[in-house]
């Protein structure tokens, strides 16, 4: 499946965000969906703390048949545009079949040190009730497809732990992950692939599971958060 790059172009007639890779092979509707959703939400990416920050964002682009999932690897760049604006991000997007995606998630989880995963499992286990209750008190998101927002103090090192938490949940590796959503094997209404974002600066219009820095959580109104710290 194709790999797409969404980049900020600083030269030529048409500047700014655009796909810089060949987009042939991706259906127009899927391309629009990827365009709108690949880059995590929120402002203040120009804050030096988030320069070089990485986010993994995954969402379904086609639910039919073998299914297609967009896997977006996003990085905060140090680019500066013609008028001095920063906070520019770059996304490399792979569109995967569902089976490939499952293998990708397992590999990504396996690449995280065992000690970090153990910490993540403990943190999630201790927050079972939070996970169960807070998703349903989210006033902003749909009650049928509730969103769960995680926070922690941001640092690149700490975010490996946060990424481990989200990967554990989306791989449905433990019983407690079913508190987010019972597996589609049991619940026919469950999402086949739970959308998630490992780092965004705003939870609105974000994935079903999203992690945001604690400093940005103060601005969320009506959205309960699960603190991982």
């Amino acid at each position: 499946m194709p790999t797409l790059t969404l980049d900020y172009v600083l030269e030529g007639r048409q500047r700014g965000y655009q796909f810089t890779s060949d987009t042939r092979g991706v259906a127009p509707d899927q391309l629009k969906l990827i365009w709108r959703n690949a880059i995590p939400r929120g402002s203040a990416w120009s804050d030096p703390a988030y320069r070089g920050a990485r986010s993994l964002k995954c969402f379904t682009v086609d639910d039919a048949g073998a299914g297609s999932i967009a896997v977006c690897d996003v990085i905060g760049t140090d680019q500066v545009d013609e008028v001095g604006r920063t906070g520019i991000r770059r996304a490399v997007i792979q569109v995967m079949r569902y089976a490939e995606y499952q293998a990708f998630l397992r590999e990504r989880l396996a690449a995280i040190p065992v000690a970090v995963i153990r910490d993540a499992e403990r943190a999630l286990y201790a927050r079972n009730w939070d996970l169960l209750l807070k998703k349903h008190s989210n006033a902003v998101h749909s009650p049928l497809k509730p969103q769960t927002v995680f926070t922690d103090d941001y640092s690149p090192e700490r975010w490996r732990f946060v990424e481990a938490c989200l990967l554990l949940l989306v791989t449905r590796a433990t019983v407690l992950t079913n508190l987010i959503e019972v597996t589609p094997k049991v619940n026919p209404f469950a999402d086949r692939a739970l959308s998630f974002t490992t780092l965004a600066l705003d939870a609105r219009e974000e994935s079903r599971l999203v992690a945001i820095p604690a400093a940005k959580a103060a601005g969320l109104r009506g959205i309960p958060v699960v603190n991982l710290g």
Partner: protein, 237 residues
């Protein structure tokens, strides 16, 4: 246009019935105005080519039209950012405003983010920003918006006003006037006026600076915005 009920009511009760129905319509219009301006927010959208100051304008309104000293905008990413309805004091009146989203101005965003925003917001007004740079890009963007208005029958139904703001007068004001800058936009301005007459919305062109909150004629930008928001409210003032 009178309904069958109104005609029957007036034929039975005569002038008293007519006065009653007129009063009812005035009350209903005032109620609708109150609900939009004080509760849900006046739906409008902000468009324009990249780097014209869309994010800064929305942020300025969110900060109650106070100067933005330390605000450093970032290029708006594809998809844009949601902007919840907020309250601002526009010319002495507290108004609730609803821009819905802050969208980017890159060419690739026109067909996707702009059209989607126009359909979702069904705006009562459009603020379109241009500046002194890249006339071709601004003309393309303005033509695209006018095409969009023509094509999106459902979304344009509520459109009442279209304000073109020639922004960044702090950068061009000393050397040029808004008329000088708009000299290259002759066809677009003519087309905008024709469309306004055909579709039924009001249109203005104002030069000014969102950063400084003033127009190029020295008035406050708030006065222009008050005119715009008063035109898009259900009971125009």
């Amino acid at each position: 246009m009178t309904t069958l009920f109104e005609r029957v009511f007036v034929s039975v009760f005569g002038q008293t019935g007519r006065d009653f129905i007129d009063g009812l319509q005035r009350s209903s219009s005032s109620l609708s105005d109150f609900v939009y301006v004080k509760v849900f927010g006046l739906p409008f959208i902000v468009l324009g080519a990249r780097q014209t100051g869309k994010t800064t304008l929305i942020e300025w309104m969110r900060h109650n039209l106070h100067e933005l000293d330390s605000f450093a905008p970032e290029p708006t990413a594809p998809g844009g950012d949601s902007v919840p309805a907020f309250s601002a004091r526009i010319g002495g009146e507290g108004m609730r405003l609803k821009p819905t989203r802050d969208v980017g101005g890159e060419y690739d965003m026109w067909e996707t983010d702009w059209v989607e925003l126009f359909r979702v917001a069904k705006p009562r007004g459009i603020i379109f920003l241009v500046d002194h740079t890249d006339v071709l890009a601004h003309k393309d963007a303005l033509n695209f918006v006018m095409n969009m208005i023509d094509e999106e029958i459902e979304a344009k139904r509520n459109l009442k006003a279209f304000l073109v703001l020639v922004n960044k007068s702090d950068l061009w004001g000393g050397k040029l006037s808004a008329d000088d800058l708009l000299h290259s936009y002759g066809n677009e301005v003519k087309r905008l006026k024709n469309q306004a007459a055909r579709v039924g919305y009001q249109t203005w062109i104002v030069g000014g600076s969102v950063r400084d909150g003033v127009t190029d004629s020295g008035e406050t930008l708030t006065a222009s915005l008050r005119t715009f928001f008063n035109a898009i409210r259900p009971k125009p003032r």
